[in-house]
């Protein structure tokens, strides 16, 4: 009997403790959120990690903070992780602006996760190339890469080979076992897959020719990879001879002394846009609009081109020759890139990825 009384008392004490701690936490978090709502002094930005984060935090972000006297909190993730976060926080968003790639921009848009831009608060919109403005006024393209062929200059020199010229070169038997290919649903792959279909009598709505072509490519492939860093590792060790990649990635890696270079194939390099999107019901909506406006200003676009190696989308930006050599730059070059609409691929990404995973994992 005594025991039961004891136990009950212990349980009651434990409950009181839990309630006290929980109450304290609730009070603390309440204080936090009311302070935030009072005035917009903080912007929560979710962006890519690694060198891209470092560059953005060294240039655009401090310039923005200084201009508006605010603080930017940087949350790191890959585009898919960021989208997953925004999706999970749908009912109580914690993030204001996100960095998306083409795929996550359209995925999030389809799920109504992003807010519209307010043209009155984003006057710099008038200076952009047409392709950089979203049709529905949701988000903007903040910079572009060109998707092209990456090759190992050291190996090519040793073997006396000329640089590749066509997407079809990836199928050349002389590269057997040394081609590196990103997996679906990496944004680069989704775009190239549509192009491969197109080059072989299919289209973005008829992908079967691309699937057949991928089966033919498999013996040539050293690895199908997910993380871009692994592509660098394979090129760096000389295991990879040829593959495809975004221009910013290749030039960034080449800048470290790695033996890689990029060519835009004769069928055309592919435009690979990167978007900034405002999260729907963001905690700091006004500052988010200002951030977008600042990002596409000529001042910020020059910084983005020089440090992030993303081609400017603002027509008025002037780059020096060294910077211009590493990014898609100038109306003629930018508009020459293939601007593919891969809507049908984005809509079927789950089933296409499942088929892809089985194809590369079933070898």
């Amino acid at each position: 009997m005594m025991k039961i009384v004891d136990t009950v008392r212990h349980v009651r004490k434990a409950c009181a403790l839990v309630l006290a701690v929980g109450g304290a936490l609730a009070v603390l978090s309440g204080v936090g959120s009311s302070a935030q709502a009072a005035d917009e002094k903080e912007l929560v930005f979710a962006g890519f990690g690694g060198s891209l984060q470092k560059s953005l935090q060294a240039t655009v972000i401090p310039a923005f903070e200084k201009k508006y006297g605010v603080k930017v909190v940087y949350v790191t993730g890959t585009s898919n992780q960021i989208l997953a976060k925004v999706k999970a926080q749908r009912n109580s968003p914690q993030i204001d602006v996100i960095w998306a790639n083409d795929t996550t921009h359209y995925q999030g848009k389809a799920e109504k996760l992003y807010a519209k831009l307010d043209p009155a608060k984003v006057p710099n919109l008038s200076q952009l190339y047409d392709f950089a403005k979203d049709r529905d006024g949701i988000g903007i393209v903040m910079g572009v890469q060109a998707l092209g062929i990456e090759y190992n200059t050291k190996v090519f020199k040793e073997k006396g080979w000329a640089p590749p010229t066509s997407w079809a070169d990836l199928w050349d038997p002389k590269y057997k076992g040394h081609v590196v290919f990103y997996n679906m649903p990496i944004g680069y792959t989704n775009l190239l897959f549509a192009k491969i279909a197109d080059m072989n009598g299919g289209s973005v709505t008829n992908l079967e020719p691309a699937w057949n072509k991928m089966k033919e490519l498999q013996p040539n492939v050293l690895a199908f990879v997910d993380p871009p860093a692994q592509v660098d590792a394979l090129f760096g060790t000389g295991s990879a001879w040829i593959g495809f990649n975004g221009s910013a990635r290749v030039h960034d890696f080449a800048g470290t002394g790695a033996p890689v270079a990029m060519v835009l194939p004769k069928e055309g390099g592919i435009l690979y846009p990167q978007q900034f999107d405002i999260v729907a019901n963001a905690p700091h909506p006004d500052l988010a609009q200002k951030f977008i406006d600042f990002t596409i200003s000529a001042e910020a676009q020059k910084m983005i081109a020089e440090s992030l190696l993303l081609g400017p989308v603002n027509k008025t930006v002037k780059l020096d020759d060294a910077a211009a050599a590493k990014v898609p730059y100038g109306e003629k070059n930018v508009t020459a890139l293939l601007n593919l609409d891969i809507g049908p691929i984005n809509q079927n990404l789950q089933s296409l990825t499942a088929r892809w995973t089985a194809m590369v994992g079933g070898r």
Binding site: N80, Q81, D226, Q230, S239
Partner: protein
């Protein structure tokens, strides 16, 4: 009434306070596990059975109805089992060596065994990319002595080699603990009764270390089955395992119900295999005891 006054000074009230404190000691751990383990598990289990808000077995039918997914589950179990066996074969001699305190160079061996745990899994796996790759040390070495071989990167064998390296310490530690508990006089007694080295090992030492083997195997098997970084980087998309599927479905295509289902299938499969194994080893040990 369980309160006893053992040394005359401890009052009943003091004793009950002690018991209360002992119970309270568990509270942080219980809260921690409830919040970070039980609750997410409940959520993802629910998510996998209710992909569209209502109860359905759709995700599980999708998994078991597809030959590719079944092959991934089988591959995960196979890789984990072979890795466990490899750590046992390599780890047992090391553990025997280490359990004999007087051996020279003991701390060096301990260091070599434990060292891999000091290095992050990502760095370690990149190391394997260099060693196992087409231009790696292994291929170059074999080619230079006239045995042409391809490379083991992005192959199941490569994954097993890397996993064995990573999880060897867990097996060794479990075995050393078990070996050190054996009374040395047992081996001597067996020798005096005429047993040679082999039968001392097979009939005395080995049966007595079965608990250690069982514990080490369960730990290594579970870690290998749930390991993600090493299989993803060394095996890649060509050697898909269950955690890779979870990553792909959960983080890349955001098919959360299916990712939850894959995770749960992995959990249940691992639990089943380890339960059957533990039961078999215990059963073997107790039968042996009866015979003896």
């Amino acid at each position: 009434m369980s309160t006893t006054v053992e040394n005359g000074r401890l009052s009943a009230a003091g004793n009950s306070l002690l018991r209360l404190n002992a119970g309270l000691l568990l509270v942080p751990a219980l809260l921690f596990y409830a919040a970070l383990f039980v609750w997410p598990l409940v959520l993802s289990t629910w998510g996998s059975f209710a992909p569209a808000g209502q109860l359905s077995l759709e995700t599980y039918a999708h998994f078991f109805g597809d030959e590719f997914y079944r092959s991934v589950l089988w591959r995960s179990m196979r890789i984990s089992a072979i890795t466990t066996l490899m750590t046992l074969i390599i780890g047992y001699p090391i553990a025997v060596y280490l359990s004999q305190n007087w051996r020279k160079g003991r701390s060096l061996v301990v260091f070599l065994v434990i060292a891999p745990m000091f290095v992050s899994a990502v760095v370690r796996s990149y190391g394997w990319i260099i060693i196992l790759g087409p231009n790696g040390i292994l291929s170059s070495l074999m080619n230079s002595i006239g045995i042409p071989m391809g490379h083991l990167l992005y192959s199941e064998a490569g994954v097993i080699i890397a996993l064995t390296h990573v999880f060897l310490p867990f097996m060794v530690i479990a075995l050393v603990g078990s070996l050190q508990q054996i009374d040395p006089s047992l081996a001597r007694a067996a020798q005096i009764l005429g047993a040679n080295g082999v039968s001392v090992f097979l009939r005395v030492i080995l049966p007595l270390t079965l608990p250690g083997i069982s514990a080490g195997s369960v730990i290594v098997f579970c870690l290998a089955a749930s390991g993600f970084v090493t299989p993803a980087l060394v095996g890649g998309a060509a050697v898909p395992v269950m955690p890779y599927l979870v990553y792909k479905e959960g983080l890349l295509v955001l098919n959360w119900p299916f990712a939850s289902a894959v995770a749960l299938i992995l959990l249940v499969a691992t639990a089943l295999v380890t339960a059957i194994y533990t039961f078999a080893v215990r059963d073997g040990a107790s039968k042996r005891r009866v015979v003896r």
